[in-house]
Amino acid sequence: MLKFVLRRIVGMIPSLFLVSVLVFGFVHLIPGDPIQILLGDLATPEQVAAVREEMGLDKPIWVQYGKWIAGVVTGDMGNSIFFGQSVLSVIGNRAETSILLALLTLLLILFIGIPVGYLSATRYGTKLDQSISGISMGFASIPTFWLGLTLMTFFAVKLKWLPSSGFPSIFQSGNWGNLRYLILPAITLSAPNSALIIRLTRASMLDVFKEDYVRTARAKGLREPVVNVFHVFRNSMNSLVSALGFTFAGLVSGTVVTETVFSLPGIGKLVVDSVLRRDYPVIQGIILCIALLYMAINLLVDIAYGWLDPRIRYS
């Protein structure tokens, strides 16, 4: 098992290299001079040249890349143009909101998506199944920000049940009640993703229903719920787990929009703000972190796969 994981990590090196090249190259593809943007329009050409030399931007591109990647490995991704702080601390300051939002959303997705998908699959072809399929497809067709704004209009502006925007840190205040600021965002974010998990759970369970070993399980005299949980659902978990990477990507895209709608001080909003402010080091840092996170999740998926399926575990 350990060997398997190590092999996978070594196999990821070319991908990591490619990711770093793409992320590094992105700044150089942007039209215009980053130094000029950094210093503003009033800077004289001499000042620009001085800063360029100071930052090493006059060196050949591969030297710059080497310097950058050396920094990244030691956790130094440069400084934010807007904040003047290090990129890592800028991102770190925003992490609390995004992580809490993600956890809350994940909880909702799992506790809605899997049971509802299970229900739909075990009641295949019934009115209930058809309604679930219809509703989940509806939710998958709603733009996240529109849903967010609509929920906000209704529950925050009209009914005033929940706050409409912002999120005071729990970390600093110690007040867990602040979680209520994240309820509407989490619902918004989980709606399309739950729909995805519902459909996925249903589809993969329906596939397993056709397997011979399910018939064997029934022929043993096992009760239907036992067959459904221990044979059908258990074997459909492989496909569910393999969709984790896909779900993560959807979650990130949704977070960008949701945090903007609800003005949450998270990483998603930071991306949008940084793009509008042309704060390239921050954008660079965030996309690098997210790409790495995605790859780490896929590694976990592979490990989980082996854990779920003895055929892989022992080969």
């Binding site: 070319p14 991908s15 490619l18 990711v19 793409l22 992105f26 593809l29 942007i30 039209p31 219809g134 989940s136 497809m137 509806g138 998958a140 067709s141 709603i142 733009p143 996240t144 920000f145 529109w146 704004l149 609509t150 906000m152 209009t153 502006v157 399309p192 729909a195 995805l196 459909r199 990477g245 896909f246 993560f248 990507a249 959807g250 990130v252 895209s253 960008v256 929009v257 903007t260 709608v261 991306v271 949008v272 793009v275 509008l276 042309r278 954008i283 996309i287 997210i290 790409a291 995605y294 790859m295």
Partner: protein
């Protein structure tokens, strides 16, 4: 195709979807006829009018007619989605075929595609938009690139499977050239799964482009598009909720219709490939 019709009959809701899409397309084509009021005409005296006589969907913060903007917005949205589909599908087919068919190209191409998938679609589109700048063609390119990965992977996977089929082997040993095999024998097998994928791409790119507009990083604000309308509507959501509600409903119904039709189409596809297609 007849199978598709049969399937449609058993799923009435998909017929409704198809009808709605027909309605939207007609509306976009006949825009000047169905919406006589210029969507750009401002009328400060009649700002934020609720839906009613004269303006069936009301007016926006500049007093522009919302119905007209919805109609012209349909044009913009459909054209950009068609652009995304054409771009991502044509490149996806090309790269997928080549990478799947020629063994030496498998690894480098697919590694690149895998790495691209590490960047979530909206995030990638955002970043690309900072490089390209706002504009219709740029939006199509940016979103098109993010959807390229899915089509490529499907085509790649199918090509790999098809290459191993006995009849393809037979043609090869009979001396058929690579080009001929690719175009005459492999490509025709790809069409229906790719069409299904294209339907889903259409739906989701519409959503993504609306999100870009909303974030202020898509089409320039002066172009009437459903996303831009929502973006403006979000500012007035308390005073003029119809500004948000109406274009939103059009997006939801259009995307839903595409998904419904895509679902029926997918069930028609060869079961060997059904699993490769990622709809919702």
């Amino acid at each position: 195709m007849s199978g598709f019709l049969k399937m449609l009959r058993s799923r009435k809701i998909a017929i409704a979807g198809l009808a709605f899409l027909g309605f939207i397309v007609l509306m976009a084509l006949l825009a000047p006829l169905v919406a006589p009021i210029n969507p750009l005409d401002m009328d400060p005296a009649n700002r934020l009018l609720p839906p009613g006589k004269g303006h069936i969907f009301g007016t926006d913060n500049f007093g522009r007619d919302i119905w007209s903007r919805v109609v012209y917005g349909a044009r913009t949205s459909l054209i950009s989605s068609v652009g995304v589909v054409l771009f991502s599908v044509s490149i996806g087919i090309f790269v997928g075929l080549v990478a799947g068919y020629f063994k030496a190209l498998n690894a480098p191409f697919m590694r690149l595609i895998d790495v691209m998938m590490a960047f979530p679609s909206l995030l990638l589109a955002l970043v690309l938009m900072t490089i390209f700048g706002r504009g219709m063609v740029n939006v199509i390119l940016a979103v098109g690139i993010t959807y390229l990965t899915r089509t490529t992977r499907i085509v790649y996977g199918m090509t790999l499977k098809l290459k191993e089929e006995v009849y393809i082997e037979a043609f090869r040993s009979a001396g058929a050239s690579d080009l001929r095999l690719l175009l005459k024998h492999i490509f025709p097998n790809l069409t229906s799964p790719v069409i299904v994928q294209a339907t889903f791409t259409f739906a989701f790119s519409l959503l993504d482009m609306a999100s870009l507009d909303f974030l202020g990083l898509g089409l320039p604000p002066e172009i009437p598009s459903w996303g831009n309308m929502l973006s403006e509507g979000s500012i007035y959501l308390a005073r003029a909720p119809w500004m948000l509600l109406i274009p939103g409903l059009f997006i939801v119904l259009t995307v839903l219709s595409f998904n419904l039709v895509g679902d029926v189409l997918r069930d028609q596809v060869d079961p060997r490939f059904r699993h490769d297609i990622k709809g919702v």
